[in-house]
Symmetry: C2
Subunit: 380 residues, 2 copies
Amino acid sequence: MPKFSMSVPAESDGCVPIAELGRRMARFRELLVDRQLDAAFIIDPRNVRYLSGFTGDDSAALITRHGQFLLTDFRYIDEAARTAKGWTVVIKPHGLMEKCGAVARRRRVKRLGIEPGAMRLTDLPPLRKACDGKVKLIRAPGLVGELRLQKSEWEVQRIEEAIRIQERCFRMFCKELKVGVSERDAAARLHYLLVTHGADDLAFDTLFQVDASSSLPHGRPTQRTLTTNSMVLCDWGVRKAGYHSDLTRMFFFGKIDSKLRELHRIVREAQLSVFAKLAPGVDLAEIDKAAHKVIDKAGYKENFGHSTGHGIGLHIHEQPLLSVRSKGRLGEGMVVTVEPGIYLPGVCGVRLEDDVLITKTGCRILSSLPASLRWDGSDD
Amino acid sequence: MPKFSMSVPAESDGCVPIAELGRRMARFRELLVDRQLDAAFIIDPRNVRYLSGFTGDDSAALITRHGQFLLTDFRYIDEAARTAKGWTVVIKPHGLMEKCGAVARRRRVKRLGIEPGAMRLTDLPPLRKACDGKVKLIRAPGLVGELRLQKSEWEVQRIEEAIRIQERCFRMFCKELKVGVSERDAAARLHYLLVTHGADDLAFDTLFQVDASSSLPHGRPTQRTLTTNSMVLCDWGVRKAGYHSDLTRMFFFGKIDSKLRELHRIVREAQLSVFAKLAPGVDLAEIDKAAHKVIDKAGYKENFGHSTGHGIGLHIHEQPLLSVRSKGRLGEGMVVTVEPGIYLPGVCGVRLEDDVLITKTGCRILSSLPASLRWDGSDD
């Protein structure tokens, strides 16, 4: 593959409606004013996509109070015209940093916000040089992240679309599974079903963990195979038009061990106790505590070592984090995973994960697969 | 998927032999001395893997003149013990930057090399704070990259293994292809074949471009389908034990258009002229010029807009770049792609790509698929 043509993953049409882009940009410009910035230089590809609708990579956005410039290269001329509606497309002859400096100076930007979590140390010298002392660089962490917290109706629809695909394929997949199939082959088959049934890509590498594999906090698919009484933890997701979904289900072949059934019941109870709490204004740390409280009380305090959930959107892991260490509160329009689990080292792990939208008064669970499935895909 | 358990892609055993790691570390310590550094802090995951053999992510390596520390977290205790032989594993309670500062101070490091192309602006303040004025941070670009240029025999074997898998699967894949299959479904099927026949993952998203799609400099698989007289450009690769392979082949259904046959001949001639030049000591820019010369002479100067090749190894695109803008020369043990192409906008693109090892006196082509194939996988 030629270096210049690093391919961008296949995407469905993915054009963001003009009205949607307009609303995002209006809110972003309010933030610029609040932070006393004349302009912002955005290089995180997800943030570039959020603001401009542009789906390519190796590109950047420069937004001034009155103008919006997409800095890209010759590969993306057509795509920029199609997706970044209302943007001035600047085909960069040199690097992004040089081009940003040149446009910022021409537009007489005095205070330029930059993304410190996305820029590398090697980016700064060429950017400073191109700014030639005329433009002051201001670190502006979370500038776009703040906006991305609250999903619009259009964004929620994209996430729901991803969930529908992953649920539909999962039912097909379960029906096909047979004793003797390895974790690796099963994960490969699920991948194939997803991308041939509407997914642009996986949201992340599927975890398909059989029996004791499920107790590993990070499971790579192995050659372990399904046996007559196997239990499976499957954590999978879909990317559709840039948006991610993320679910986890357990399922059982043959006889269901009574201990597993009990763990599953506790985890489900923890999940339900979280659903009952989710609403705008609720403290993020309190939500995490609610899940842990149920599991602690059941005697598995040491066996739930992660936080209860995370935001999903243009990134598979984004704000807000439902963690005891999180500051802040839930807000309407946030979309989060709720995924308590119990892990018994070397024995098994049980986790359930659903995707949930925070509504005006509470929450709406976006996923619809039953919490427990028989191996053949029927409800338990 | 819980945030803490971002899964690492499936990998074959992938343990680097101890002797191999020892040689790498001895060479790396020579570089430390040359650059007057007491230690280096490595965070690029591929560089961490190269030096330590460790296959996880979210980790870092701190190498002093006499010690080697793998900074990781609780998820990777077992994996670090298995892969990073001879390393002191430091389970970080806080961030990597804090841990690095603490170890560096304890080891009385005065001059610590850092990777400016891998570190973000947000990494620097916590690292500086943890160093507490006792450790000077020295930007050391390309410290590990320099070593990775020259592949060992063991590394070449890993790349060859990846190539064998991708070639074997490609023959199976071609035999299965039928008129009516879409680019997306074909790419999904090839993915499935590769990961169920020994690949740890794809080296990159497959380009499977039918007819006019092939003229796009970056091709995402679309719903375009194979027809009776279609031509396909397929650019695909495999990752095996961390190492990447990368090939491009053209193939034809039914009748082969005489114009396409002519373009194919020219591109092949360009490739052969490069193979004839490859040897230690040859200027990188001269190699690129050799390929362009053939294509320019045939009248397609404007239709070959990329450089002739790039290094492959732990990264799909690494040094050396076979570009007219490259400084430097080829050396024994480098592995590069050779991939000239001709692109006629809206009509077609023709590219051939092979992977080549630079030997003591010339080169050895590692890939073995014939330059041209009939659609059924037989040689043309």
